[in-house]
Amino acid sequence: MTSPPEVLAVRGLTRRFPGVLALDDVSFTARAGEVHALVGENGAGKSTLIKVLTGVHQPDEGELRYLGEPAAFGTPLAAQHAGISTIYQEVNLIPLMSVARNLFLGREPRTRFGLIDFTRMHREADRALRDYGVRVDVRQPLRTLGVGAQQMVALARAVSVDARVVIMDEPTSSLEPREVETLFGVIRRLRDQGIAVVYVSHRLDELYAVCDTVTVLRDGRSVHTGPLAETGRVELVSLMLGRSLGDVRKEGVTGFSGAHEAGREPVLSAENLTRRHELHGVSLEIHPGEVLGLGGLLGSGRTETAKAIAGALPLGAGRVTVAGVPLRSGSTPAAIRAGISLLPEDRKSEGIVPGLSVRENIALACLPRMSRMGLVSEARIDEVVDTYVKRLRIKASSPHQKVGELSGGNQQKVLLARWLAMHPKVLLLDEPTRGIDVGAKAEVQKLIDELADDGLGVLLVCSDIEELIEGSDRVVVLREGSVVGELSGDDVTEDELMRALATAAEEQTGDGPGGPDKSTGDPSGPSDPSDPSDPSDPSDEEVTAHG
C-alpha cells in the first residue's frame, strides 16, 4: 500500500511562547484523502500546531511544506487562499453578525455591480445549513444560536470553501451525537474527495470512528505517528499521558465509580422555572450526595436551567430553594452565598478572566472569605491555590501565569478550583469535561464522584451521553425547556435515555410548524433519531469503563 501524496507537512517545528516551549521539534504530515487524528493531553500543543500550520503563529524553527513546495503563511488569510480551511478550537465567528454573513464573510456572492447579493447569500446560506441539520433564520445574529449550532455554522463555513486541507480543532466538543454523526458524514465525504482532514478530539470513540492515522503530541513533542487501527486505546492513552500501559489499564479512562448514597431531603429544589421562549416550568430536585444528570438535545434548555438556578438569568416565574430557604431570583451573589456554584458552559467568555493569573482566578469567587475588612489575606489565598493546583494537577508555568495562556483543559481545571474553593452545597456543572483530555477527564469525573461522596449535590450537564449516564445517579430529560422525563435507578442507561430523547423528538414533530425554530431535532434532518448511539458504541473494549 503506497501512502497517498503529502499535502501539508512540517518538520522540526519549534514554537515558543514567553516561558513556554509549546512545540518542540514537531513533525507532522497530512495526506490527501486521509483523516489524520491529532491527539494529546491538554496543553500538549495541538492547537498551537494548527495555528502555526495556518499562519496564525509563525514558527520559530522548522520547515513547512505545502503541496510539496516549501511554504510560509503570514496570515490566516494567506493559508485560506492557499486552500487550507480551518475550524479553530472555540467558536471563532462574529456574534453580532448574521448567520449568513458569518458563513460568507470574505466571499459573499455579488451582483453585477460588485455589490453583495443578499438575496442569493441568504438563500445559499439557508441551503448550506440545512445540509447540516441546522434550521435557523440565517438573517439572525449568530449569537442567538447555541454554542452547538454556532459550531455547525463554523463547520459549514470551513467546508464550503474549496480546500485541499480541512483542519478541525475539537469540533465536537459542544455537539450532540446527532450532529456528530452529521459531521462524520461530512468528513467521510471530504476524505472521499481526496481532501486531507486533520481532526483533533479528546473523545477516543470519535477517533476510532473516522480517523485513519494518528499523531500523538506530548509536552510539545510528536511522540508517535501511525495508522490508528494499529494503535489500541490503552496504548493511545499511555502514549498521550506518557505512562506505562499497565498503569493506564489499572486506572482506566473513565473515572466514575458508580452510584452514590443520596440524602433524603433535597438540598436544592427548583420549582416551575419559567423564562420566555426558553424555560417552561422546569422543576427538579437535587439531593445531597447525588449526581443529577440533565439530558436533552441541543438547545433543549439545559444551560438555561443551570444558569437560572445559579441566578445568572432573571426568571419570569418560579423559585429556587436551597436547604429549605428560598433564593432571591436573578442574583448570582445570592445564589453563591446560598452555596450554589455554576461552572459555565462558555469557558472562554463567561468563565475565565484571561488577563488575571491562575492564582487570582482561583481566588476570585472566594475573595470575600479570604479577606478581612476588605483587605485580602495573601497567605490564605496561597494556601487555597496551592491545595487546588495540586489536587487538580493544574499545569501552569507558575501560579502567576495568565490564565488566558493556559490550554483549554487547564483553564477548565482552574475554574473548577475556583468553585471548589467555595465549598459549595450544590455544584452545577455545565459541560465540565468539554475540551478536557482523557487523563484530566478521568480526574474530573473522579472528582465529581468524590464530591458527591462528600455529600455535595451535583447537577451534571453533559453532551457526551455515555459520560452522562455513567456519571449520573438520576437523569432528568429536557425538551424545549420543559421536563419530559426522568430516569432513575436501573433505568439510567443509554438505551433508556436514547428512547426518551427519541420520543421527545417525535413529539416535537407532532407540534407542527408552530414549533420553535431552534431545535435541530427536525425529522427531516439528515440522520435518523436512533442513529446517534452509533458513535458512542464502544468499538474497542480494551479499556473498561469502570476502574
Partner: protein, 369 residues
Amino acid sequence: MREDASGTKATGGTGGTGGTGGTGGTKDDGNAGGGAAASAPPAAYEPEPGAGRGERLSALFQQHGALVALVVLTAIASLSFDSFATGGNFENMAVSSAFLAVVALGMTFVIITGGIDLSVGSVFVLGGVLAAWGSQYGTLVALLLPLVVCGLIGLVNGLLIAKAGLAPFIVTLASMLGARGIMLNVTDEGAKTYLVDKGAFFAKLGQGKLLGIGAPVWITVVLFVVGAVVLRRTRFGQHVYAVGGNEDAAALMGAPVARTKITVYVLSGLLAGLAGTLNAAWLASGVTILGFGMELDAIAAVVIGGTLLSGGLGFVSGSLVGVLLLKVIQNVINQIGSLDSAYQQVVSGAFLVVVIVAQTWLGKRRQML
C-alpha cells in the same frame, strides 16, 4: 442585530423625514432581506409570533430611538414655536449640520470597527485652513491639498493603531494635538486667516444652491448614500463589521484586519478634511478657531444614532439622525431665546442623558429577548 430586515427597511423610508434625505444602502439591504424571506419556504423558520413582534418593535426602537426622539422633538417644537417649522429654519439647520454629519459619517465607520477617532475636530480645522490657503491656486488645489494632508493624518493614525497595536483613543488624542499644531504652524500661530475668493468656483461648493437647497446638504446626502452602500453592500463593509464584532475571529476567518482598520481611519481623516474644506467654502475663509469639541459631538451623534461604541454594530443613517437631533436640540434652546448660557449647558447635558438612557434601555430589552 442590525441585520433585521424589518428594522432596516424602515430606515430607508423614514430617513427622509429627518430632513436630509434617505439612505439608499440600508433600504436596499432591507429589501434584499425581505426578498430572501419570500423565496425561502415559509415554514422553515417561523419565529414565534409574539417573539417576532416584540423583537421587531424593540429592534425598531433601538435602531430608531433617536429617530423617534427627533420626530417627537420636531413636532413639539413646531407646535411651540412659530418660527421653528419654517423652510428657512430647516434649511439653516440642514446646512449647518452638514459638516458635522460628514465628520460623523467617517466616525461611524471607525466606531463600528471598535475604534474611535478624537482627531477629527483638529483635522476638520486643518482641512479648512488648507483649503482656504489652496483656493488661491484654484479649486483643484483647494480640494486636493486638504484631502491629501488629512488622509495622511488618518493613515498615520491607522498605521499606529493597526500595525503598532496602540490604543485608538490615545493615538488619535495625540494626532488631535499634532493636527492642531500643524494648523497653528501654517497660520502663523493662528494669527492668519486665509480667505476664499467669493467669486471662485470653490466657494460655490459651500454657498451654492440647487433647487433651493445648499450644496453642502446635497454633498452630504450623496456621501451618506455612498457610505451606506459601502458599509452594507460591499466586502469592505462586511469586514468593518467583522473587525468590530470580534477582531480575533475576524482575523481567523481571513478578514484583512489591519487593512480594514487603516482604511477606516484614512476614511475618517478624509471625511473630516472634506468637511473642513466644505466649511471653508461655506464661510469663505479658513477660520482657525473651529473644531474644539467637535470629536465629542460626532461621537455623541454616532452613539445616539444606535452605533455601539464597542463595535460590530451600527449604521450610517442613525448617525445622520443623531447629528440632526443634536442640531434640533440646539435650535430649540435658541428658540426659547432667553436661556442663560449656563442653563443651556445643563439642559443639553440632561437631554443627552435622557436620549442615551432611552436608547440603551431599549437596546438592552432587545438583547434580553
